[in-house]
């Protein structure tokens, strides 16, 4: 048995208490999960403490909390692994509105999931005397994404979501990859176009928090990278994200380094420059005034030939 002080970030709108922190001291044996700790507090000390839970075996996805500041499943996390100096802190996951204590409003999460059309467009008529054939390789392409339990751990620390509430977020994108790469789906072309629209696959900033927090093999960042590869290879280039990536590729491939004069222009697209001038100009002027404007002359790196060789090989792959 050991004594632990659990600090809980609570929220109570019914009694106008708003947000507040509360410490609970509990005695726990070895082998308890964080969810067990919460139950111990709720059932033995404060019945008003509120959170979601159901399967307690890491498959239903109900009990995502911020544990010591990082989103995790309460039922999957051993208390011993997260208690430091007899202390443990539990709060609601981030990037959400709180309803009560650790219960957050997930309606936007479910709504965004629907935006990627997460259902199979079958490419054959239905005949239940046989299944669609899918190679083992084809299965493995979608296996990781299919392990997602929609717990929302991944949205908690997502940097893009923090600045743009309309971003569909990592879970929806992982789900999108599961269908883009499903050999049975016939809507590949349409999916690559739709997923390239604003608020979707190009709005991720690669911070990696989603994959870091994901309790399954779904690892959204890896899925996002896979989608980007698919859409670029499929020739869906008429968007800032793809253009930005291609510009990077072109610049490094030819000079071995980034040509920062061209990248913003190529990302917007030469043809769109006129329409987007109002957006680019102030940033450019600001950079100038802070002495951060790129050099007017772009230099190649010393052994640019080596770099070009690498790119030549890459292009052959």
């Amino acid at each position: 048995m050991k004594t632990v002080v659990v600090t809980i970030d609570r929220f109570d709108q019914e009694n106008q208490r708003g947000s507040y922190q509360q410490d609970f001291t509990i005695e726990i044996p070895n082998g308890l999960t964080v969810l067990d700790c919460l139950n111990k507090i709720k059932w033995e000390q404060d019945h008003t403490l509120t959170y979601r839970m159901s399967c307690r075996s890491a498959i239903c996805g109900s009990c995502a909390f911020r544990i010591n500041g990082k989103s995790k499943l309460g039922c999957k996390t051993q208390a011993d692994d997260v208690i430091t100096n007899g202390k443990l802190r539990i709060g609601p996951i981030g990037n959400t509105d709180i309803i009560k204590d650790l219960v957050v409003d997930l309606e936007p999460f479910w709504y965004k999931l629907k935006k990627v059309k997460p259902w199979l467009f079958a490419n054959k008529p239905k005949d239940t005397t046989k299944e669609f054939y899918q190679s083992s390789e084809g299965y493995h392409k979608i296996e990781d994404a299919s392990t997602c339990i929609l717990c929302a751990c991944c949205i908690s620390e997502c940097n893009s979501l923090k600045v743009d509430k309309n971003y569909v977020g990592p879970a929806a994108l992982a789900k999108a990859q599961r269908f883009i790469d499903d050999s049975r789906d016939k809507n590949f072309v349409q999916r690559t176009r739709e997923i390239s629209e604003p608020t979707k696959v190009w709005d991720c900033t690669h911070c990696g928090e989603c994959s870091e927090r994901c309790p399954t093999d779904a690892k959204p960042l890896s899925r996002i990278e896979e989608i980007r590869e698919r859409v670029v290879n499929a020739g869906v280039h008429n968007n800032g994200g793809a253009r930005h990536l291609l510009s990077f590729f072109k610049s490094v491939g030819s000079s071995g380094t980034l040509d920062e004069r061209k990248i913003p222009i190529e990302s917007v697209g030469i043809g769109n420059l006129h329409a987007n001038l109002g957006e680019i100009m102030p940033v450019g002027l600001k950079m100038l005034s802070h002495g951060k404007a790129p050099s007017m002359i772009h230099h190649n790196v010393d052994k640019v030939g080596e770099v070009r060789k690498i790119f030549k090989k890459l292009n052959k792959l």
Partner: protein, 572 residues
């Protein structure tokens, strides 16, 4: 009052499959106390049975039927079983067409594996998360047609509206706001899941509290075969969290404290892949006779000989569960396991169309349907075979959906004329719970119930233990009234709903016990030390338990449908 054509309570496999079938022509509402993808169907791991004959070319629905009948200890209704096994290949391929991510064999077909009690390898699987794969693809299909549906997520079923054995609605409560709503519909489908949460050692989710069963029973509907609870042989020691039977399907050994593969003694042919009732009894016998590991109350599941690669490919999730919950990696060490309350064979009696019945003559409760684990068709009889539960949920979910569609096409909605009357029981209980201010603790009452049910109504039962347990449950029902409710608020008050769940669990525990005490034989999940044999002369029949207005449990019995296979001794 809110009007819909059809109200479906529960958003697991059965509920969502039914909704998909019925929403084409009707305004359908799905009510779930959690979110659809949180439903406990998702926790099923090892597979779903269908005689696709992908792995064993000579497999057929006939073999599947015989295995299921034999597995049920001959209490399964053979007309229903025949429908299920014949529909199986079609509904499973249909799920695949819906996008379900199945593991594949070398020819690109749905992969299959061996499972307990099945004479052929016919478990179609998605690694060891088959329920999750099926549940998510159904949810995806539901999203696809979401314009035709209303989903009430985080709404709790409080009561049904049934008058003169005709159901025309349900009373639900918004967990978020506490607001109570009356839903008026032509028909209601119960798809509320099992009742395994009353046990201390259980694989069931917190949600599996039998709410649907008690709502039905409070409206005069009997409950069938409630004494048959399946104890799964491989629950993680101490908690009962499920380790899939797929572990044994892939070749895992069960080993006792003396290092012996003890199933040799009990089922020399099928060994670890005997049906669950037999493996759990064997395990419990080993433990009771002092041959647990170090003489304790667990044995070992040894997977080491399978090797890292096979474990990672076929059993990634259960390996992770072992690591996360008891710190044991099955690649390197055996897993300590014990029998765990797992599946509810009993439930709301219904026919093969999902139509709920109310007596031994199969008189219908008009407008009330049931499917999935909460229903008792009965395809599992006294013992369910692994992989037949997901199958039952999709087959009978689909069939119930078709029945709902048909029924709603031919029926006008009966208005709920007296809303106050419909709300009477709900309002009374709400008031009682909110005013509860006694000296007892809900937590203590719940713990005593769970311990009592696991210790005295577990794998092996005897009259002393069961009698003691029944007295305990009756006492706890009284003590429940003297509890206090700690959270008096209206918003997202889980304390309040946990109290209702406890009340429901106490009520169905009583029915399990009354049926179990009366059934003087050993059959499937009901094993008695004073009547060790199955007794087909006196007990080849289904139990129907009804609760009278004064709270008395009355038992009646219904014959078993026997069409192709006469009862015989089970040997594995």
């Amino acid at each position: 009052m809110i009007k819909h054509d059809i109200v479906i309570i529960g958003a697991g496999l059965a509920g969502m499959r039914a909704a998909l079938e019925a929403c084409e022509n009707h305004d359908v509402a799905i009510v779930t106390k959690i979110y659809p993808t949180r439903s406990h169907s998702g926790a099923a791991q090892g597979g779903v049975a269908a005689a696709l004959a992908n792995l064993a070319e000579d497999d057929s629905p006939d073999f599947h039927m015989f295995d299921t009948v034999k597995g049920s200890d001959f209490l399964g209704d053979q007309d229903a079983i025949e429908i299920m096994v014949n529909d199986a290949p079609h509904v499973i391929r249909e799920m695949e067409h819906f996008g379900c991510v199945f593991s594949r064999d070398e020819k690109g077909r749905i992969a299959q594996r061996a499972f307990g009690g099945h004479s052929k390898p016919r478990s179609c699987y998605a690694a060891d998360r088959t329920g999750h794969a099926l549940l998510h693809s159904l949810y995806e299909q539901i999203l696809k047609v979401s314009k035709k549906l209303t989903i009430y997520s985080e709404y709790y079923l409080r009561d049904l509206v049934i008058n003169d054995f005709t159901c025309n609605g349900a009373i639900i409560q918004d967990i978020k706001t506490g607001k109570i709503e009356v839903l008026n519909s032509k028909a209601v489908l119960m798809a509320t899941g099992g009742y395994g949460r009353a046990f201390q050692i259980t694989s069931n989710a917190f949600a599996c509290s039998g709410d649907g069963l008690i709502a039905a029973m409070n409206n005069g509907v009997p409950l069938m075969d409630m004494e048959f609870v399946q104890f799964h042989p491989t629950g993680l020691y101490g908690q009962g969290i499920l380790v899939s039977e797929a572990a044994r399907g892939e070749g895992g050994y069960l080993v006792n404290g003396k290092g012996e593969r003890f199933m040799e003694t009990y089922a020399s042919k099928m060994m670890e892949l005997a049906p669950r009732d037999i493996v759990s009894r064997s395990e419990q016998t080993e433990i009771n006779e002092g041959r647990g590991i170090d003489g304790k109350d667990f044995v070992h599941l040894d997977m080491r000989h399978l090797g890292r690669e096979k474990i990672l490919e076929k059993l990634p999730q259960v390996r992770q569960l072992g690591i996360d919950f008891i710190g044991v990696d099955m690649i390197d060490a055996p897993i300590p396991i014990q029998p765990t309350a797992h599946y509810s064979m009993g439930g709301i009696p219904c026919d093969v169309h999902g139509q709920v019945i109310r007596d031994k003559d199969s008189s219908p409760v008009r407008g009330l349907f049931a499917a999935g684990e909460c229903a008792c068709v009965s395809v599992h009889g006294a013992n369910r075979l692994g992989t037949n539960s997901l199958l039952e949920a999709v087959v009978f979910g689909k069939r119930a959906g078709a029945s709902l569609n048909e029924f709603a096409l031919n029926t006008n909605r009966v208005e709920i004329s007296d809303e106050n009357h419909a709300l009477e029981r709900t309002n009374k209980l709400t008031k009682e719970l909110r005013e509860m201010n006694g000296k007892e603790s809900i937590n203590v009452v719940r713990n005593e119930m769970k311990n009592s049910m696991t210790n005295d109504c577990g794998v092996y039962r005897n009259p002393e233990k069961m009698g003691r347990c029944l007295n305990k449950i009756k006492d706890l029902q009284k003590r429940f009234k003297d509890c206090s409710l700690g959270d008096k608020g209206s918003l997202f008050n889980t304390d309040f709903f946990e109290a209702i769940e406890l009340k429901n669990m106490l009520d169905f525990s009583e029915i399990i016990l009354v049926g179990a005490i009366e059934r003087k034989e050993s059959r499937g999940g009901h094993a008695r030390t004073d009547y060790e044999k199955r007794d087909d002369v006196n007990w080849l029949k289904h139990t129907l338990a009804t609760k009278s207005a004064d709270g008395e449990i009355k038992l009646d019995y219904k014959p078993v449908s026997i069409t192709k296979h006469q009862p015989e001794e089970r040997k594995y």
